[in-house]
């Protein structure tokens, strides 16, 4: 039976000890060895607990967690695919985990080769000419990519006139945020009634002030932008560059390459598409790839291969500079490399095909119970349900249904995004789930639709099976209590 766990500090009992430290074998008293300014004036307030207390505490806490190793996690737009344990083995190899970024290059040739090969493979997968592995997350990759676009316009002498970045209204929120942080004005283009970029609306907004356009393909509705070549032509024709938001790349591996669609710059989320763990805030990795004309601006350093091995090249005069300390989240790079090497080209292609198949299977099975906009065409890796029907008929919102899913043993999907679908619920099963899991999820959703009709009143207090039910998420975000402090009262 799960119960709310007390803090380890609250379990502390004065004088209880769980470790036995050896006697200090350095001659002389600490007061003679350390300068005054480095010495504590009072003992640190550490919890005083026995070993079994600690083991139980953290074991119990771990059971309150929900992760992809426990159950299904169809988080739309976030590709919560299973993380193969082989990746973890690779990342723990001493030659990768016990090195330091300031070591001499000749002593870390294996790590440099991994970075070089990973860049090469990611370029091949995406159809790009060069890649930086520095960015630590998707949004960080976006910012890096938009800075590269800016550097390109600066060199052409029209940085001052090209002040606008175009984003579709179905875009991830990070796209307009990134453009804005990079100093651009954001121009939104509406989607047409098929959930795709409205070509005429796009033509109407491009011009000499266009720096570029940011696009996700397939888009956040899980629909492929079939007009992508025309979109690229329109943006390029106006002198702008095209940015590919790689959050949805899991739908296209081995099928089509952003480079071939006409994209000039992109980011990939290794923590989504390439199976490295994410959630809990990271660590992520958002490598950025560029077409040939943006190569000179890549962040420094880049790994280069010379006849006698690999080295870091800092000599890029037009570089936008560093975007992160050292070389990126290296442990994440190792996991992505292990994934690509173990899957191979055919494996990656089949991952995308199965991700798309799984999404379409769920969509078709749920069609009768929920409003699903655009379900008349096949979706890609994800699709969006609208809870409008349940909301209007039974007063049960998408938030309520998401909370109720927890009682059915499923982590809720993304809700209220994309903004262009009312009461949205965004489902992305990924390729790693078998038919039985998909069926369990569909059955739970059908049950929830039935509950909404027959006993809508139960939704308000869902979930019932968790240690805590509905939390004050706003206060948690606005006034978080992040650490325990001793009550000296």
């Amino acid at each position: 039976m799960l119960s709310q766990e007390k803090l380890i500090f609250e379990k502390s009992r004065k004088g209880r000890v769980g470790v036995s430290l050896p006697r200090c074998d350095v001659p002389g008293a600490p007061s003679t060895l350390l300068p005054e300014s480095f010495r504590r004036s009072e003992d640190p307030s550490l919890p005083e607990v026995s070993e079994v207390d600690v083991v139980r505490h953290f074991t119990n806490l771990s059971q309150l967690n929900f992760g992809v190793d426990e159950g299904f996690y169809p988080l739309g737009s976030c590709t919560m695919k299973y993380n193969p344990k082989l990746n973890e083995n690779a990342a723990r190899l001493s030659g990768f985990s016990n090195i330091h970024p300031l070591q001499a290059e000749k002593t870390v040739q294996g790590a440099l080769k991994l970075m070089y090969d990973l860049s090469t493979m990611l370029c091949e997968i995406t159809g790009m000419a060069g890649m930086t592995l520095q960015p630590a997350a998707g949004a960080h990759g976006e910012l890096t990519g938009v800075f590269l676009i800016k550097a390109y316009h600066r060199r052409n002498g029209d940085e001052g006139t090209r002040t606008k970045i175009i984003v579709p209204d179905s875009a991830h929120g990070t796209n307009p945020a990134t453009a804005s942080v990079a100093g651009y004005d954001v121009v939104e283009v509406a989607s047409n009634d098929r959930g795709n970029v409205d070509i005429e609306a796009l033509k109407a907004v491009v011009g000499e002030d266009t720096a570029g356009m940011m696009l996700t393909n397939p888009n956040t509705l899980g629909l492929f932008e079939k007009d992508i070549l025309e979109i690229a032509e329109i943006v390029h024709g106006a002198g702008g560059l095209l940015y590919y938001d790689g959050a949805n790349a899991n739908a296209i591996l081995g099928k089509i390459r952003p480079g071939d669609m006409g994209f000039d710059v992109l980011h990939l989320n290794l923590h989504k598409t390439f199976s490295t763990p994410h959630g809990g805030g990271g660590p992520g990795s958002g490598p950025v790839g560029v077409s040939r004309r943006l190569l000179p601006f890549l962040p420094t350093p880049v790994v280069v291969e010379k006849g006698d091995g690999y080295s870091l090249d800092f000599d890029l005069p037009d570089s936008i500079g560093k975007v992160r300390s050292f070389y990126g989240n290296f442990g994440v790079l190792v996991r992505a490399y292990a994934y690509i090497m173990s899957m191979g080209a055919e494996g990656l292609l089949s991952a995308s095909e199965n991700a798309v198949l799984n999404a379409n299977y769920i969509m078709k099975r749920l069609e009768g119970e929920f409003d699903i906009p655009f379900s008349d065409v096949p979706c890609k890796h994800e699709f969006v349900i609208s809870g409008e029907k349940q909301h209007a008929e039974n007063g049960v919102s998408t938030l309520d249904m998401a909370k109720r899913l927890i009682d059915h043993g499923v982590h809720p999907p993304t809700i209220y995004f994309p903004l262009i679908v009312h009461e949205a619920m965004m489902v992305e099963p990924t390729e790693t789930e078998g038919k039985e899991t998909l069926d369990r999820f569909v059955d739970a959703m059908i049950e929830i639709a039935k509950e909404a009709k027959e006993k809508p009143e139960i939704f308000h207090d869902a979930p019932y099976t968790t240690v805590v039910s509905r939390l004050d998420e706003t206060r948690a975000a606005r006034k978080p209590v992040l650490r325990w402090t001793e009550d000296k009262g």
């Binding site: 919102s397 938030l399 809700i415 209220y416 995004f417 004050d472 706003t474 606005r478």
Partner: protein, 128 residues
């Protein structure tokens, strides 16, 4: 159909303003609170802050996300409704009774560009 109150002026972004002399109480409409869902936080503006017609007034957060609220008219914030700090849900319960800010209006002619009750009703019907 959302409730629309007589005697107020409305914007296309679903704010209302209730003019009293040189000042106007500003809030969001029943349509807006319904579209936002459960409101959980109101980030009130500062008293003394200048606002412009169509410019940012404050942010209202609901379970769905954060929404910008725009000022229907230009002026200076004379007062804010501090009740909303602890009870943001009042906007859901009584959108026309829960004003967010009182604005000292700098240009009364701006109000002519806003919708009256009838115009706002047909505007909302067009959105259905």
């Amino acid at each position: 159909m959302a409730e629309i109150k007589a005697g107020l002026k409305y914007t296309k972004e679903h704010e209302w303003i209730k003019v009293e002399g040189e000042k106007g109480y500003v809030g969001i409409s029943d349509y807006a609170q319904n579209a936002m869902g459960d409101i959980v936080f109101v980030e009130l503006p500062e008293v003394g802050q200048d606002v412009s017609a169509g410019g940012d007034l404050c942010v209202v957060e609901s379970v769905k996300g954060a929404n910008d609220v725009y000022s229907p008219a230009s002026g200076k914030i004379a007062e804010v409704n501090e009740d909303l700090e602890d009870s943001p849900e009042k906007i859901n319960e009584d959108p026309y009774g829960s004003w967010i800010a009182l604005v000292e209006l700098s240009d009364l002619s701006e109000l002519d560009g806003l919708m009256n009750e009838e115009a706002y009703r047909s505007y909302c019907e067009g959105l259905e």
